[in-house]
Amino acid sequence: MSRGRIPHWADVTLVPLASVFLAFVISGILIWAIGESPWAAMKLMVEGAFGSSYGWGYTLFYATNFIFTGLAVAVAFQARLFNIGGEGQALLGGLGVALVCLYIPWPHWSLALIAASLGAAVFGAGWALIPGYLQAKRGSHIVITTIMFNFIAASLLGYFLVNVLRPQGAQDPSSPRFPSETALPKLHEILGVFGIPFSTVPPVNISLLIAVGMCFAVWFMLWRTRLGFQIRAFGESEPAAEYAGISPVRITVYVMLISGALAGLMAVNSVMGEQQRLVLNAVEGAGFIGIAVALMGRNHPFGVFLAAILFGFLYQGGAELALWTGIPRELIVVIQALVILFTGALDNMVRIPIARIFAMRGAR
């Protein structure tokens, strides 16, 4: 009722930018308070993340993860389903990738990529299907069930790594290395084809292109297909969807399948593209970052893309900060948390003043 009217363009650009700005200002005060220079820290972060193709490579690698998990949350949210289970779905996706890469011999990476993507998507979707079905049929709240399924997924993965996948005699709870035929082409190889030089170190790989493709695919699905129409109608108003003859059960299950598949696909980047083996913490919290990415990206695929780049920057820039300054690692997490807090939770704090400014301009 008391929502101000802001032009759409301002809602999608001005509000998140102002939120990020505020988060940076407060982070700056924090850095200043522990006796470091906020200006130097900012410069280091930006240079570390964007100053070289090395930095770009890492930023984009992290961003790839966040695009997948961010899309997963965004798609579910279009149906007003809050999928907190991206972490678990991505872990299961990792298991799918590992099984495909380890147990089937692949002649070429391209075939392995297709099969591993399918494996990741199917495992991720399967893991989201159970909470989705419980929500649709039994009304078990999806937030609760998906959170619980994160823990189950972690335990399940631990079991698989220790008891099934771990090579004889190894101390480390991880799978053996994948065969070299399944190694994905890195970005420097792809750019090399066009004669563009790029750092060979960062793990950014062909999954980035899949992630970008997924942004387009999700956008097309949501705004150009019948399924997307039904998902959005259901999300905006369940009684109206019911009136239109859209089955809530079916939409809930479909959306969770798509969401879980997207989260699962993240493993292609991290497990197959980077580590080439499955480890316990393969997802590294990207499932949760996906929630922030979706919030900040306004649950729109293109917004998710931009927000994912920002969080990639925070990850990579933050790592540089921890490496080169006396700023403790924990403070980087605080900065990331501030961005999440401002863009996600305190959205209206920024929106209301902006709405007021627009109202004043409109009245003049």
Binding site: M1, S2, R3, G4, R5, R224, T225, R226, F229, Q230, R232, A233, E236, S237, P239, A240, A241, E242, Y243, A244, G245, S247, A355, R356, A359, M360, G362, A363
Partner: protein
Amino acid sequence: MITAWTASARRSDPRMTQAQTQAMRQDTAASNAFAIELRGISKAFGPVQANKDISIRVRRGTIHGIVGENGAGKSTLMSILYGFYRADSGEILINGQQTDIPDSLSAIRAGVGMVFQHFKLVENFTVLENVILGAEAGAMLRPSLAKARGLLKDLAREFELNVDPDALIENLSVGHQQRVEILKALYREADILILDEPTGVLTPSEADHLFRILRGLKEQGKTIILITHKLREIMDVTDEVSVMRRGEMVATRTTSETSPTELAELMVGRKVLLRVEKTPAMPGPEVLRVEGLRLVDAQGVERLRSIGFALRAGEIVGIAGVAGNGQSELLEVLAGLRPAEGQAWMKGAPLPLSGPDCDAQARRARRIAHVPEDRHRRGLVLNFHAWENTALGYHNDDAYNPSPWKMDNAAIIRDTQAKMAAFDVRPPDPQLKASGFSGGNQQKIVLAREIEHTPEVLLVGQPTRGVDIGAIEFIHQRLITLRDAGAAILLVSVELDEILSLSDRIIVMFDGRIMGERAPDQTNAQELGLMMAGMA
């Protein structure tokens, strides 16, 4: 509802000329005859001017009606008087005293009481507890309760305001709940009582009772402001009436010297047909038949009890009843939104009332269209563009889906433009969100969608609720046109006038049962009112 976002700091200059001000000062002595006087009240919500320079005088000890279409600014004006909003400019005088009303507490202190359209009662408190709520004298309840009990007894004797003081609100009928609201105001020693659309939820006999109470209060010297859009009530009960249109006060009349036709014209700003013009129906063959329909809700309450009737092509059957007697449920069952027991046939072929083939899509496939009672909740997705709403429910149509995996948005937009033109939707912009249209235009979007698919059966709930008079006329004509084209129409409305003027047959429902059937020209509001109250 008006969005309450912070208005701009814009304050228009006091628009009164010096001469006007002086004139007003001169008759301050005489103005003691006025319980309420508003001078030059203006209120803007952002770019929307809800009240424009409104001046009105309400004589003490009279019933003063305020009429106007939805969105004319009646509720805003009363909210200013009750301290919910602050006027951007203007003055409020109560009993000749200039009064500042920053919040509702000040309004109560100034002797203004308000009875809201949607009651503000605690359901599981007793009548007595609700009456003293917020007006307790001291930390202990007992003295207040005793005082209230005595007062309630007096009021009941004086004004026919009898309610059991120890009854729980949830066990009271709507009419009795409203009396509790009035008692609350009187307990707070209100001299001026504002009632906002008080009869919307009442049966005709309950409404008559309310009017007797109001007349009694008037005789005791209370001043009453009655906000309504029902002209018949204005004519029945008020002494004076003020008409609002688009935020402005357009006229004030002595009720005995005006007529419903004049008031309607003032409200709309042009001539209006209050009666629907239609030719006698020429009913064709039976289209829809229902037998032994029974619905039990989740709480185990029987909502529909052995309902049976038939609809024929080319007729409008109206279902009259006080809200909450099963009409809404009947519509939902027929529209496929709720499974029920019983049998139904569409043109002789069975129509499943439960099971997997019973949903809104299946009904549309059988050419049963539905204009739901609540267009905000069901009929529209408010956050969707008009064109997306045009596809709602028909999103599987071949015309919208030339290829199996892509919706043809451009085709839907073209179709929306055509429908908007046919139904005179304003503004005719398919890209505007549904929430951006007025109530009447929203309803036209829904009606256009359902009617233009040429259904054989149209289920319509409250077609003109919250719709302005101009659009009401249009909507009624469209329904008659659809009937004359051979469709069977089932009309549910709580507006008895609407039922009487549109229907070819009238079915009255009470407590989930059909009380009987009448022909509109052989019955009247009194008889129907008795049947609606379960007394015939």
